[in-house]
C-alpha cells in the first residue's frame, strides 16, 4: 500500500451487536485525493465515515488517519484529530438555535481565540465561498434544503480542514441545487487541497468530481476504480449500479419464503 496514504483501513470489521455491517475492509486513500464510497442503502458506507471520524470503533482491524491509529485514540487525541477534519452531514445538521453567522462561526469560536472582528471577516469569507454572503442574519428554519447544505459546507470548511468527509451530500436536493453543491465541493476541495471522502449513491454527479471510487455491498468492497474504469466496467454489479437497472445481480424484491399466491390464499387454485 502507498506510504502516502492519508486514510488506511486494514482488515476492518464492524458490527452493531449481532448485526455485521462491515467485513474485512481494506482500502487506502492517498493524501489530497477525492474518493467516493458508493453502495446501496444499508450497505455500511456511512459506517465507514463514522469509523474515520472515530464516532465508532471497529471490533477488528485498524483505521489509520494521517499515520495515527484512530481506534486506539483517547477522547482527547480524537478531538485533536477532529479539529483538522470537516464533515458535511446528510441534511446539513445546522444548529437550529443559532443564526447562519453563529453556525459558521461556531468552530472558529470554539477552537481559536481570534478577536470578534476577525471571526466576522472569516465567516463572511466562508459564506462568500459558498455563494451565500448576505444570509448571515437568517435562522436555519428560514433556509431552503440546498442553502442549508451550503451553509453547512461553509461551517465544515471554517477551519480549513485537511480532511473533508461528506455524508450523502446530494440527498433530497433539486437538480439545480444538486449541481451547485457538486460543483462547490469539487471547487473547494481543489482550492484547499484537502483529502476528501464522499459517501453517496448519486452515481452520475459523483463520477464527475471524484478521483477514485470504491463500491460497497453487504459490508464488503465489491469493486473499485477511477471514474472512467467504473463507467467501462464489465462487472455486472457495477454496471447495474452505475446505470440504475432494476434487473441484475442485486435483486429488488425481498427474498420471501412463501409465494404471493400462498400468502393471499390462492395456493390451491394455483396448484
Amino acid at each position: 500500500m502507498s506510504t502516502d496514504s492519508f486514510i488506511e483501513f486494514r482488515n476492518v470489521s464492524f458490527a452493531y451487536g449481532e448485526r455485521s455491517i462491515l467485513k474485512n475492509i481494506n482500502l487506502s486513500i492517498p493524501r489530497g485525493r477525492f474518493v467516493a464510497i458508493m453502495g446501496g442503502s444499508g450497505s455500511g458506507k456511512t459506517t465507514l465515515l463514522r469509523l474515520i471520524s472515530g464516532q465508532v470503533s471497529p471490533q477488528q482491524g485498524e483505521v489509520i488517519v494521517d499515520g495515527k491509529h484512530v481506534e486506539k485514540m483517547s477522547s482527547r487525541e480524537l478531538f485533536e484529530l477532529r479539529r483538522r477534519m470537516g464533515m458535511l452531514f446528510q441534511f446539513g445538521a445546522l444548529f437550529t438555535d443559532l443564526s447562519v453567522f453563529d453556525n459558521v462561526a461556531f468552530p472558529i469560536r470554539e477552537h481559536t481565540h481570534l478577536p470578534d472582528s476577525m471571526v466576522h471577516d472569516l465567516v463572511l469569507m466562508k459564506l462568500a465561498a459558498v455563494g451565500l454572503r448576505g444570509t448571515e442574519r437568517l435562522m436555519p428554519a428560514e433556509l431552503s434544503g440546498g442553502m442549508s447544505r451550503r451553509i453547512a459546507l461553509a461551517r465544515a470548511i471554517a477551519l480549513d480542514p485537511a480532511l473533508m468527509l461528506y455524508d450523502e451530500p446530494f440527498t433530497g436536493l433539486d437538480p439545480i441545487s444538486l449541481g451547485a453543491i457538486a460543483h462547490l465541493i469539487k471547487k473547494l476541495s481543489d482550492a484547499l487541497g484537502t483529502t476528501s471522502v464522499m459517501v453517496t449513491h448519486d452515481v452520475q454527479h459523483s463520477l464527475n468530481i471524484v478521483d477514485y471510487v470504491y463500491f460497497v455491498a453487504n459490508g464488503e468492497i465489491v469493486a473499485e476504480g477511477t471514474p472512467d474504469e467504473v463507467r467501462a466496467s464489465a462487472s455486472p454489479w457495477v454496471h447495474q449500479f452505475v446505470y440504475g437497472e432494476a434487473d441484475g445481480p442485486v435483486h429488488l424484491a425481498y427474498p420471501a419464503t412463501t409465494s404471493l399466491a400462498d400468502d393471499i390464499g390462492l395456493g390451491d387454485l394455483h396448484a
Binding site: 479539529r83 452531514f89 441534511f91 445546522l94 444548529f95 437550529t96 461556531f106 470554539e110
Partner: protein, 261 residues
C-alpha cells in the same frame, strides 16, 4: 401453567433490572455533566442564555399559578380557620403552606412540564437531526456545550422560580383574605412574621427546590440525550421527562420533609 405463573415474575424482574440499569446510566451521566461543567462556569453567558429559556420563559406560568394557589389557600384557609375562631392566623397558614410545601413542589411540577419537557425535546431533536454528532465531529463535547449549561441553568432557576411562586401565593392569599373577605391587614402580616422562621421555613423550602431543580433538569437532559433519534422517540422521551419528574419530585419531597421538619 408454570409459564403463566412465571411470566409476571419474569416481567417484574425485567422491569426492576431495567430500572436499576437506568438509574446507573443517569448517575454516570450526572458525573459526566459535573466533570464537563468547567466550560459552563468559565463561559457563564452560555448558562445565562439557557436561564432565559428555562427560567424567564417559565415566569408567566409560575406567577399566574402562584397567584391562584395563594387565592385558593386564602379561601380554604379562611373557611377552616373561622370555624375555630382563628381567622387572624390566615397569614401564617398561607405562608407556611407555601414556603414549606406547595411553593417548592408545585413550582417544580410546573417547571418540569414547561421547561423540562422543552429541554428534552430540544436536545432530543438535536440528536435526531445529527446536530450533536456534528458538534462532536467538530471536536466540541456536546455534554460540555449543550447539556451542562442547560443543567446549571435549571438548577439555578428553580429556587428563584419557587421563591417567586411563594411571593405570588402570599399576595394571592392577601388579596382574598384581606381585600375580598375583609380580614385585618396588620394581623395578616404580623401573624406571618411571628410564625415563619427564616431558617426552618424559608431556607429549607429553598433547599428543597434546589434538589428538585437538580432532579428535574437531570432527568430532562438525560431523557433528551438518551432519546431514540426519531420523531416518535423524542415525543416518548418528552412524556417520560414529565412523568418521571413528577414522581421523583413527590418522592424526594417526602424524603426531604422527613429529614428537615
Amino acid at each position: 401453567m408454570l409459564e403463566t405463573l412465571l411470566s409476571p415474575l419474569r416481567k417484574l424482574g425485567h422491569w426492576v433490572i431495567e430500572a436499576i440499569w437506568r438509574l446507573g446510566m443517569i448517575s454516570r451521566f450526572f458525573v459526566a455533566i459535573l466533570m464537563n461543567s468547567g466550560q459552563s462556569l468559565l463561559r457563564f453567558h452560555l448558562v445565562i442564555r439557557e436561564m432565559y429559556f428555562s427560567g424567564v420563559l417559565s415566569l408567566i406560568i409560575i406567577v399566574v399559578s402562584g397567584l391562584f394557589v395563594g387565592m385558593v389557600l386564602g379561601l380554604q384557609g379562611y373557611t377552616t380557620l373561622v370555624r375555630f375562631g382563628s381567622a387572624d392566623a390566615l397569614g401564617a397558614l398561607v405562608a407556611l403552606s407555601l414556603l414549606r410545601e406547595l411553593g417548592p413542589v408545585l413550582a417544580a411540577l410546573l417547571f418540569a412540564s414547561r421547561a423540562g419537557s422543552a429541554m428534552t425535546a430540544e436536545i432530543g431533536l438535536m440528536k435526531a437531526t445529527e446536530q450533536l454528532d456534528a458538534m462532536s465531529v467538530m471536536a466540541v463535547n456536546p455534554v460540555a456545550r449543550v447539556v451542562a449549561p442547560r443543567f446549571w441553568a435549571g438548577v439555578l432557576s428553580m429556587p428563584i422560580l419557587a421563591a417567586l411562586f411563594n411571593v405570588m401565593g402570599i399576595i394571592g392569599g392577601y388579596a382574598v383574605g384581606v381585600l375580598m373577605i375583609g380580614l385585618d391587614s396588620g394581623s395578616y402580616w404580623s401573624q406571618m412574621q411571628a410564625n415563619v422562621d427564616l431558617h426552618v421555613d424559608v431556607v429549607n423550602g429553598l433547599i428543597k427546590s434546589l434538589f428538585f431543580g437538580m432532579a428535574v433538569t437531570l432527568i430532562a437532559v438525560y431523557e433528551g440525550f438518551d432519546a431514540t433519534p426519531t420523531a416518535a422517540g423524542v415525543s416518548a422521551a418528552t412524556t417520560r421527562t414529565v412523568v418521571t419528574s413528577a414522581l421523583v419530585i413527590l418522592a424526594l419531597d417526602f424524603v426531604l420533609t422527613a429529614f428537615m421538619f
